[in-house]
Symmetry: C2
Subunit: 184 residues, 2 copies
């Protein structure tokens, strides 16, 4: 009851898996609140993710357009994807960049790692700046189920699309702001 209460850790008493899916698992946690009361909450387990900021020239970036099932819209985004089992996050970033854009990066620099929605998900995302891009001369054979469009635009134009609300994917807005200092 002090005027400046201190936050306390909750004790996690139980974690029960309610659903295992292709891309996420659902768990129900039972926690003990600092008051001693028990409380149940749902959390979503997701694989770690990578997002790549591909700098194609001093003042230009590569983005992708994809249909996003969570919101039912086509969005303009940074290349990104899940880290597969056995991959390092660096390997995943390299693979996702190549798969989604058909470019390889000679330089791939980690910028930062963030928690996507820590109150209800385990999801993490690591951001990489990709530079010295070269066209992949041996791209994988075309996958008929691939549904992605590669867009090259000035960094300035990308920032304008953030300001106007045309770019609204969180990782993309954040990645652009994090990489701003690298662009002319």
């Amino acid at each position: 009851m002090s005027s400046m209460p201190k936050v306390k850790r909750e004790k996690i008493l139980k974690s029960e898996t309610l659903f295992k899916g292709k891309n996420l698992n659902l768990h129900r946690l039972t926690v003990e609140l600092p008051s001693g009361k028990l409380f149940e909450d749902e959390i979503i387990e997701r694989p770690s993710e990578v997002a790549i900021i591909p700098q194609i020239s001093r003042n230009e970036i590569i983005l992708t357009k994809q249909f996003r099932r969570g919101v039912g819209e086509i969005l303009l985004e940074l290349p990104s994807g899940k880290v597969k089992r056995g991959e390092t996050i660096l390997t995943a970033a390299r693979r996702e960049l190549e798969e989604e854009t058909k470019y390889k990066a000679k330089k791939l620099e980690k910028l930062t790692e963030t928690l996507v929605a820590p109150s209800w998900s385990t999801s993490k995302c690591t951001f990489f700046l990709a530079r010295e891009l070269i066209v992949d001369s041996h791209p994988r054979p075309h996958d008929p189920d691939e549904n992605i469009e590669v867009v090259r635009l000035t960094f300035k134009k990308a920032l304008a699309k953030v300001a106007s609300g045309k770019i609204k994917d969180t990782k993309t807005v954040l990645g652009l702001l994090l990489a701003k200092r690298f662009f002319a």
Copy 2:
């Protein structure tokens, strides 16, 4: 098979609710890919959220510390929360600011709205800059289950904590970068 394929919308054929929880619902979508093939995927439905950047002086901000169940850690974050049924996002921002920090804002300005994880969730977050803060003279009675700490720090210090990885909650990193221009 053109060298510059265009992205296409997927047709959502079916949406089946697998779980209804306190804070999220889980749906299984069946979609038709552009190739005609059917594909199943899981998505998480969440209420909209608000995040507030409380500017307490020209160069200081209010943050909160909370235990976050998704990652099992105490995190330093912007005040934030879910929009309740029947509330506008502005009302929710006002309520969350007051509940979490005990401050009221004379000015509450919408900065932007983003999609939290659009490939697998409906979740949206709207950012507000809160200014002309005054201490709430009639705060709600103390809730023994409330587990939150209010922290006042310079904006510069908050940015240093982003750079050092001490602040790693996505909405907080993004909100600070979005509001940078308002601070001395």
